[in-house]
């Protein structure tokens, strides 16, 4: 019965977001982009896409960072248009999406402050979707408690900080732990919220969020090798949802190297196909050779899930999925631009195709 009242609040926005989805770069356009020899060629090719009008006024030697910045601006403008036109409960759903960016911004600012970087530079680097009012004040904090009591208590993230307060001082390792604890609390909260929205939003979003949780579980495991993080602490960072919770997580919490991770992943049908032919030694995300890394496989799977969410109408998942697809597209465009500007044309095909 969801269909008969969904459009009251979200009909217009769903139509708009589906329009945005149709503006994503398609595979023939990607092929054209990869044929480019110079950045000017790339700019010319991008003029036929949705980014055309944004890049028009850029001076001619287009740098990759400008390209990335303009693309992100486009994404943010579109998302903010959605937010401005949203009413409850959809506005709350969109807010939930921005919390993830807020966590990244908070961590970026605190880490930058620890390294005594200039606040204004840091603020410029923050993702615009994750802005909140008291954010510039973050730089004054020295301990987690202080951080919580002076700044975070008014922000939407306050609830997620409860578990981090045990960490006393802010140092490099603690920052990563705080980031992951925050993200874990955020994922669990977002999942609970999506479930409260009922079908079909709950079904579609729980699938996407489960995958996100699984990906984080694997990444936390891989990144904790060779650090001081104890195995109990590692298990505490895993999000309590997803296909790997709880069985695979208990196994992953005990492993020491990549081969054991691989052995565990191979036991689950969903992930066995994903790790076939993957060079796990470079799973940390740096795609050095032309072989696909585990990270790329995860991206491909994420794109697939997000594309599937557009197959159904009358649910909120499309907003989340569109944002993720658009982000992937920006990563693709920037990757192609990097390959062109650094004359690494043999790796140019390593982007993740969307449509």
């Amino acid at each position: 019965m969801n269909e008969i009242h969904f459009n009251v609040d979200a009909g217009y926005l769903e139509g708009v977001v589906r329009g945005y989805r149709d503006g994503l770069i398609t595979s023939p356009q990607y092929l054209n982009l990869t044929q480019c020899e110079t950045m000017d060629d790339l700019k010319l090719q991008l003029a036929t896409t949705d980014y055309g009008s944004l890049l028009q006024n850029e001076p001619s030697p287009l740098s990759t960072s400008t390209l990335a910045a303009r693309c992100t601006d486009a994404l943010v403008a579109e998302f903010q248009y959605l937010q401005q036109n949203a009413a409850e409960p959809i506005s709350r759903f969109l807010d939930y999406i921005t919390y993830g960016y807020m966590i990244d911004n908070v961590i970026l600012l605190i880490t930058g402050t620890l390294h005594e970087r200039d606040t204004h530079d840091l603020l410029e680097k923050c993702h615009p979707l994750g802005f909140f009012d008291s954010m510039p004040a973050l730089c004054v904090a020295t301990t987690v408690k202080e951080l919580y009591h002076t700044v975070m208590v008014d922000s939407p993230l306050a609830g997620y900080f409860r578990e981090c307060l045990s960490a006393e001082d802010l140092n490099e390792l603690n920052m990563e732990i705080i980031r992951n604890t925050l993200y874990k609390a955020y994922l669990e909260d977002f999942d609970a919220y999506c479930r409260s929205l009922g079908d079909p939003t709950a079904t579609i979003m729980s699938e996407i969020l489960s995958f996100e949780a699984d990906r984080r579980t694997v990444n936390i495991t891989i990144n904790s090798f060779g650090t001081e993080l104890s195995k109990d602490d590692r298990a505490r960072l895993y999000p309590r949802l997803g296909g790997m919770y709880p069985e695979a997580q208990t196994k992953l919490a005990r492993v020491d190297d990549m081969d054991q991770v691989k052995a565990i992943l191979e036991q689950y049908g969903e992930y066995r196909s994903m790790i076939v032919g993957v060079n796990l030694s470079m799973a940390g995300g740096d795609s050095g050779s032309s072989a696909l890394s585990l990270e790329d496989r995860f991206f491909a799977k994420e794109v697939q899930l997000n594309k599937d969410s557009f197959e159904q109408q009358f649910h909120y998942g499309v907003f989340y999925s569109w944002l993720r697809l658009k982000e992937q597209e920006i990563r693709n465009v920037v990757w192609i631009a990097e390959c062109i500007s650094q004359h690494q044309k043999d790796k140019i095909a390593n982007y993740t195709n969307i449509y």
Binding site: G11, G15, R18
Partner: protein, 207 residues
């Protein structure tokens, strides 16, 4: 549960107790036959039945049509932001919804033609009662089927709009499904006509 919850529970309990008390009082004092639903329904004037039927017929049809137009319209609006070409083409979904209201209007006119002043000294005849009941249930059938038809067409119309915005070729395919949806309203119309077909006009029965 807040105070509103307590208040609701209190009102519910009081009503139940009062109803129970009244029922038991009548029953135990030997007047249980006053609980006569059939007699109550028969005491309602046939005019009341007939006019209720007519108002339900037009009312529910218009609700269905407008609801469908709203569902389809908001999606057409959203989809047309990027692909303006869908706006004109998808007006057909709006028209399909509108047709549902027109069914309701037609049937209300047909039904109301049977209403006329009864001038006999004997009051209502058996035929008058039959006309009243048939108008009520015929009108209800038309109204409900049109309400559901409007919703169905609206939801399919909304899907047609977003699908058309994505891929032009999908429009005709979804339109076919939309037509099947809009036939539901026609079924109600036919049944409504059949149900009231044998009912004679109020005035004719008396003159």
């Amino acid at each position: 549960m807040g105070y509103a919850g307590y208040a609701r529970a209190a009102v519910g309990a009081t009503t139940t107790l009062l109803a129970l008390w009244a029922g038991l009082y009548l029953l135990l004092t030997g007047r249980g036959e006053r609980f006569n639903v059939g007699g109550y329904l028969l005491r309602i004037s046939p005019y009341m039945w007939g006019l209720y039927g007519i108002s339900l017929c037009i009312g529910l049809s218009v609700v269905g049509a407008s609801w469908g137009i709203f569902i389809a319209g908001s999606s057409i609006l959203g989809g047309a932001v990027r692909t303006p070409r869908i706006a004109t083409k998808n007006l057909i979904s709006i028209i399909f919804c509108e047709v549902v209201a027109i069914y309701g209007v037609i049937m209300a006119i047909v039904f109301s033609a049977k209403i006329a002043a009864v001038s006999g000294a004997t009051g209502f005849s058996r035929s008058d009662y039959y006309t009243g009941f048939s108008l009520f249930w015929g009108g209800l059938a038309v109204g409900l089927s049109n309400l559901v038809c409007g919703l169905a067409v609206g939801i399919t119309g909304s899907t047609a709009a977003v699908a058309d915005a994505h891929d032009q070729q999908l429009f005709v395919k979804i339109l076919v499904i939309e037509i099947f949806g809009s036939v539901i309203g026609l079924f109600g119309l036919i049944v409504g006509l059949l149900v009231t077909g044998k009912a004679e006009d109020f005035a004719v029965a008396v003159l």
